[in-house]
Amino acid sequence: MCGRILADLGADVVKVEPRGGEADRLRPPFVGDVENSERSIPWLAANVNKRGVTCDLGSSEGRALFARLATKARIVVESFPPGRFGELGLNELLRDAIVVSITPYGQSGPLARVPASDLEVTAASGSLWLAGEEGRPPVRTAQPQSPYWSGMYGALGALVALQSPVAQRVDVSAQAAMATVHPPATLWWDIAREEHRRTGPFLLGRSNVGSRFRNLWACADGYVSFAIQGGPIGRHTGRMLAEWMAERGTVPAVIAAIDWERFDNTRLTQAEVDELEAAIAPFLLSLTKAEFFDTVVRRKMLGYPVGDASDSLADPQLRARDFWQMLSPAEGLAPLPFPGGFALFDGQRPAVRRPAPRVGQHNAEIYREAGVAPDELARLRAAGVV
C-alpha cells in the first residue's frame, strides 16, 4: 500500500517479487471467483499503477541484480521480518536510499521478531478493545485495516525523509499505526483515568457527566448514523429534527420541550439522554436510508446513512467529482471502478492508470533500463534468478 500511494502520486514504482510471484497474489476474494495470481482483489487494490519484476533475493546473483535496480531508487520499501534485509546485505547496498521498513511491531524492541497478522496488531494497539458489544468479544473490521494504515504511514514517513538531506531508515510499526486511530481514548485515560471500552453503537467522550449517546439506529431498510449533539451545528440539527417530526406527524413532548438555543448535550444525565433517544428511535425507524440522506443534506443536519459498497458507487457526490476510475484489472477482464486518486491537485485527480503487473511482466524493460544486457538477462532467466 505504501508503494501504491507513491505510485498514485506519479512515482515510478517497481514491485520486486520472488519467482512465481508473491504469496499475497492468492489472497481471496478473486475477480469472478476464479482463483489465480492475477485476480486477487486485495492484491489488485494494493498494486495498480506499479510495474513489476521478479528477482530471487535468495541467490547472490539475484541480490546483485536487485542492487543494480535499487541503487537507482530514491526510496526502497521492504516488509521482511526485522533483520532479514540486513542479513541479505541489502542495507550496505542501499546507503543512499531512504529505506522504509514496514513490520508488525517495528525493527527493534521486545516484540520485533514476534509474528503477527492484522488481528494481532489490532489487538495490541487498543483499537480492537474499543470495537464491539459489551459482553461479547471485541471485533475487527472485516476489511483488514492495518495494512492500509501501515502503508499510509510508510508513504508519509518516506516523504518526510525526502525533505531531509540525509538518507535514512523509516521504521513503521503496524501496532503503533493502529494505536493512532483512537486518540481521544488514550487521552481520557491519561488525563481523567477513564478507561473507555467498547460500547456497540454508542459514542463516548461527548459528555462532562459520563453519559453516552447512541450513534447507530435501525431505519426502515438498514441503519443510519445520527446523534444528539451540541455546538452550533448540533443544535441546528436538533431544531431541524423537531421541525421534520412536526411535518411528518407529531413531535414527542420531550423533544418539543427543548430550547435548542441553550441546549447543552454535555450536561445531560444518562436518564435524560435515554428518554430523548427513546422518543427519536421510532421516527428514524420509519425512514429509509435514502429519505434520511436526502433530508439531512437538504436541512444541513448532522447525520448519514450507514453505507456499503453499493451505496458508495451510487453516491451523487462521488460521481459529481469523477471519483471512480474504470480500469480492467487484467487482460480480458471487464473494467472495474477503482477509487480514484485521494485528492485533487490543482483540480487534477491522479489517475488509476495502469493495471497491477503480471508476475515478471516488466522484467525485460526494467532490467534493460537498469543496464542489464539482453544476453545477460537470458542467462539469469535460465539460471532461475528472474
Binding site: 494481532e120 518526510v160 493512532t180 454508542f202 462532562n208 450507514v306 459498497a309 485528492a343
Partner: protein, 410 residues
C-alpha cells in the same frame, strides 16, 4: 556517501522539515493533526485562531482540567496540536485579514479545514494567497470536498465513517453494526493530507510552483475500502460484517480469558500452526483450512473453553512459544505500559502550563537520522502573538498595542 545514521539525541538536528513554515486555520481533528505531524518533524506550524470563535476542541469537547471548561484547560486541544505556535486574529476585522495574509505570504504551506468557500469569503482564498506567494501550497481538507452537491453538508468524522462503509463492516453477523469508537475516517484523511502536501513540496523543488490541494475526507477514507468496492463491482456481493472471521486463516478470533474483560487474539495460517495449537490445547478439529473455516463456530467454542480459565498473558506466551500468531487484546490503559510501545517512545510526556503533566502521541513511523521531537503540548491561546506579529511580521510594540486596542488580536 551518506551513512545510514543511528538515532541522535533530540535537539541535535533541525528536523527533516526544518525551515518549512506552515500556517493553519481549522478546528477539531482532521485539519489540525496534519500540522501536528509536520511540527513533530521540525516544521514551524503557526495556528491562527480567534478568541471569538475558538476551536471546539478548546470550548466543547471534554476532558477539561478539573472538569472546568476553558480554552487553555482543554486536553483535546493540547493533545492534537503539540509542537505548534498559536497566534490570535479577529478575521472579521480587515486588519486581522491583512495580517493573516501577510503571514501566509511568508509561509510554505497553508492548511485550512473549514466549510468550502469560508476562507475565500474572508479574502484568504487559494487564488489570492498564491498570487501573493506563487510557491505556496494550500491544503483544504473537508468532509466531502470543495465541489459537488454535498460540498456544503456539515459532518463529523464518526458519522462520515458510517457513510463510507467502515461501520457496515464491523460487528457480529447476528447483530447490529457497531462504531469504530471515534472519527476514524478523519485520521485516514490526516495521513493523506500530509502526504499530499509533502508531495507538493517535493514537486516545488523542481518547478518552484505551489499547489492547491482539495482533500475530501470521504474520498480519502474510501481508499482503505478499495477491495470491498471491487468485490461488489466484480462479483455482485456486498461485503458486510463478519465477526472476527477471516477469508484465509482458521481459527481466527478473539477468545475470553480468566478475569474481567480479558481476551486473547489468535490466528492460524498454516497446517503446522494448527497441529501445534491442537496439541497445546488438546482439542480436535479438521486438518484442512477449508474445513476449519466451515466449522469455525464449533472450533471457536473449543478454543474458548481452553482459554476461559487461563491467564491471558500466559496464553499469549504459550501460543507464541509454539510459533502461533497471538496477542493480548490490550485495554487503553495498558497501552501506556506495553513494553513494545514504550520501546518506541509512543507516548512522550510533556508539561502543560495549566493541565500539568500529560502524554502526547508519537508518529507511528520512526526516522533514524532526523527523528520526531515532541517537547511542547498544544499552545495556549495566543501564546505566540509576540513572536508571530513582532518577530515574523516586524510590527513594533506600539503598532501591536494599537491593533490590540482595536480588537484585531481577539
Amino acid at each position: 556517501m551518506t551513512e545510514i545514521a543511528t538515532r541522535p539525541s533530540p535537539r541535535t538536528h533541525p528536523g527533516a522539515l526544518g525551515g518549512i513554515r506552515v500556517v493553519e486555520m481549522g478546528f477539531a481533528a482532521a485539519g489540525p493533526l496534519v500540522g501536528k505531524y509536520l511540527a513533530n518533524f521540525g516544521a514551524e506550524v503557526i495556528r491562527l485562531e480567534s478568541r471569538l470563535a475558538a476551536d471546539v476542541f478548546r470550548t466543547t469537547y471534554p476532558p477539561f482540567k478539573d472538569g472546568v471548561v476553558g480554552p487553555d484547560r482543554a486536553a483535546m486541544f493540547a493533545f492534537y496540536n503539540d509542537g505548534k505556535r498559536s497566534a490570535t486574529l479577529n478575521l472579521k476585522n480587515p486588519n486581522g485579514v491583512a495580517l493573516a495574509r501577510a503571514l501566509i505570504r511568508t509561509a510554505d504551506v497553508f492548511v485550512e479545514s473549514f466549510t468550502p468557500g469560508t476562507v475565500a469569503r474572508l479574502g484568504l482564498g487559494a487564488e489570492t494567497l498564491r498570487a501573493d506567494n506563487p510557491g505556496l501550497i494550500v491544503l483544504s481538507s473537508c468532509n466531502q470536498g470543495q465541489t459537488g452537491p454535498h460540498a456544503f453538508h456539515p459532518g463529523y468524522g464518526s458519522q462520515l465513517s458510517a457513510l463510507a462503509g467502515f461501520v457496515q463492516l464491523l460487528g457480529e453477523t447476528d447483530s447490529t453494526p457497531v462504531l469504530l469508537y471515534g472519527p476514524y475516517i478523519d485520521y485516514v484523511a490526516v495521513g493523506y493530507g500530509a502526504i499530499a502536501l509533502l508531495a507538493a513540496l517535493e514537486r516545488r523543488k523542481r518547478t518552484a510552483v505551489g499547489c492547491t490541494i482539495d482533500l475530501s475526507q470521504y474520498e480519502a477514507g474510501l481508499q482503505f475500502l478499495t477491495p470491498t468496492i471491487l468485490e461488489f463491482a466484480a462479483n455482485g456481493r456486498i461485503p458486510g460484517r463478519a465477526g472476527n472471521a477471516d477469508a484465509v486463516a482458521a481459527p481466527h478470533g478473539v477468545y475470553r480469558c480468566a478475569g474481567l474483560d480479558r481476551w486473547v487474539a489468535l490466528s492460524v495460517w498454516a497446517d503446522g500452526e494448527w497441529r501445534a495449537l491442537r496439541a497445546l490445547m488438546g482439542i480436535d478439529g479438521p486438518s484442512t483450512a477449508a474445513a476449519r473455516r466451515l466449522g469455525r463456530v464449533e472450533l471457536d467454542e473449543r478454543i474458548s473453553k481452553w482459554t476461559a480459565s487461563r491467564d491471558r498473558d500466559l496464553v499469549v506466551k504459550l501460543l507464541r512459544s509454539e510459533g502461533i500468531h497471538a496477542a493480548p487484546v490490550l485495554s487503553i490503559s495498558e497501552l501506556f505500559t506495553d513494553s513494545q510501545l514504550a520501546h518506541r517512545a509512543m507516548w512522550p510526556a510533556v508539561t502543560h502550563p495549566t493541565i500539568g503533566e500529560m502524554r502526547l502521541m508519537a508518529p507511528p513511523f520512526r526516522l533514524s537520522a532526523t527523528p520526531s521531537v515532541q517537547e511542547r503540548p498544544g499552545p495556549t491561546l495566543g501564546a505566540d502573538n509576540d513572536h508571530v506579529f513582532g518577530e515574523i511580521l516586524g510590527l513594533s510594540l506600539d503598532e501591536r498595542r494599537t491593533l490590540e486596542r482595536d480588537g484585531v488580536f481577539e
